[in-house]
């Protein structure tokens, strides 16, 4: 297959993006190549069923159960699959742990790789040029955009997702959460804290 074809068929579709999608969907549907009901099902899955609540469950469990945490950090894919979290864009999962000495942060500079079964579809900023360009070179300034400031003594390790490995950050458990249940802990785990651009909420 040619890698550079100077003829770009996409320009034949309407330029307005909403109309461009509609036109392509219509053409494919008329030829029987896509089923509109399947599209609705895909959208429902990522809008309502798969999202950061999955990752938050994993994090809360790791905070409570030392054996689970150990297994998760050693080889996360089968461990999260046991909880039902496996599938498209999450076939190979690695969990990386934050400590007082080390803060992890995840980016995909080349496209938008993200652990879908654990976090759902990435937010707009994760896919933005600014995040993709800056996260590897100036992670601390990017963290400042999120209102996060780390001590100088904490190293920042940025994971650029260049292959099919998908990374999830295990944030540090907030202080004063000793008596909380797994469910209460999961409610403190934000999406951004599992990408490494935020910290978990502190109980009020």
């Amino acid at each position: 297959m040619p890698h550079d074809d100077h003829n770009h068929p996409h320009a034949l579709l309407p330029p307005d993006p909403a109309l461009r999608v509609k036109a392509l969907e219509t053409i494919l549907t008329r030829k029987g190549l896509i089923d509109p009901a399947a599209l609705d099902e895909i959208i429902d899955t990522y809008q309502n069923k798969i999202g950061p609540q999955n990752g938050a469950r994993v994090v809360a469990k790791a905070w409570i159960d030392p054996d689970f945490r150990k297994a998760l950090l050693a080889d996360a894919t089968p461990v999260v699959a046991d909880l039902g979290f496996y599938g498209r864009q999450g076939e190979h999962i690695v969990v990386v742990e934050n400590t007082p000495e080390l803060h992890n942060m995840v980016v995909c500079t080349l496209c938008s790789c993200y652990p879908w079964p654990l976090l759902g579809i990435p937010p707009g900023w994760y896919k933005s040029d600014a995040y993709r360009a800056r996260a590897v070179r100036e992670p601390r300034k990017v963290l400042a955009d999120f209102g996060v400031s780390l001590p100088e003594k904490t190293s920042v390790r940025v994971w650029d997702s260049t292959a099919e490995m998908r990374y999830l950050v295990l944030p540090m458990r907030p202080q004063a959460t000793d008596g909380l249940s797994e469910e209460e802990l999961a409610a403190l785990v934000t999406r951004d804290s599992m990408i490494g651009t935020g910290l978990p909420k502190v109980p009020t």
Binding site: M1, H3, D5, H8, P9, H10, L12, L13, P17, A18, R20, V21, A23, I27, L28, R30, K31, G32, L33, I34, D35, A37, A38, D40, I42, I43, T45, Y46, Q47, Y86, R88, Q89, E91, T109, L110, C111, S112, G120, I121, G124, S128, D129, A130, R132, A133, R134, V136, R137, E138, R140, E152, R157, V158, W159, D160, T162, A163, E164, M165, T190
Partner: protein
Amino acid sequence: MTRVHDMGGRFGDGPVYPESDDVPIFAEDWHARALAVTVAADSLGQWNIDVKRHARERLPPKDYARFSYYEKWVSALADLLVETGVLTEKDLRGQAGNDTHPLASRALKAEAVAGVLASGGPADRPSDIHARFKVGQTVRTVDPAANRLVDGGHTRLPVYASGATGKVMRLHGTHVLPDSNAHGLGEAPEPLYAVVFPASELWADPENPKDEVVLDLWQSYLEPV
């Protein structure tokens, strides 16, 4: 040596704008449709993930820069559908008939969606290629960063990390090589490593001397030091 998508380390992009957790995941209805059409079209079986990524990367730089995220997806999908012969340019112009397509039997059905999304497409494969590097070993990335099989082809070594010296952190097993798989040259699985680089190895003026960047890199992207 590179394409417009390879933007890691670039200057001039301005701030990142965070979003709270309750912002809808699809800002517009058409974003959701674009994602769903793209996911559903994979079931036609005419390409793999590397071919699809490369289709987005080789959008003309002017288009890549001005298109929003899902505009890139749907435009690259239209290009792929024509390149693979699934659709014709006449189809895209809206001038073709609506006869049922020979590939229609492969169309993703609503009842199959859950199973397809849950099974995914793992990229690890058995390989005869022996792991050349050990955890802890010092390695250098090839320079320049480029596909060595197809000029201007797909690769997953970003330019900012070419010619850089780092240490092997993990061996992930043997995985499909995108540089080959994106061009119909076979899956060519080989060892894949996580390699850690000090920020000072990558940037003229790192923010903090203790900071690091980790990349997942195939064995053929690496040389012993």
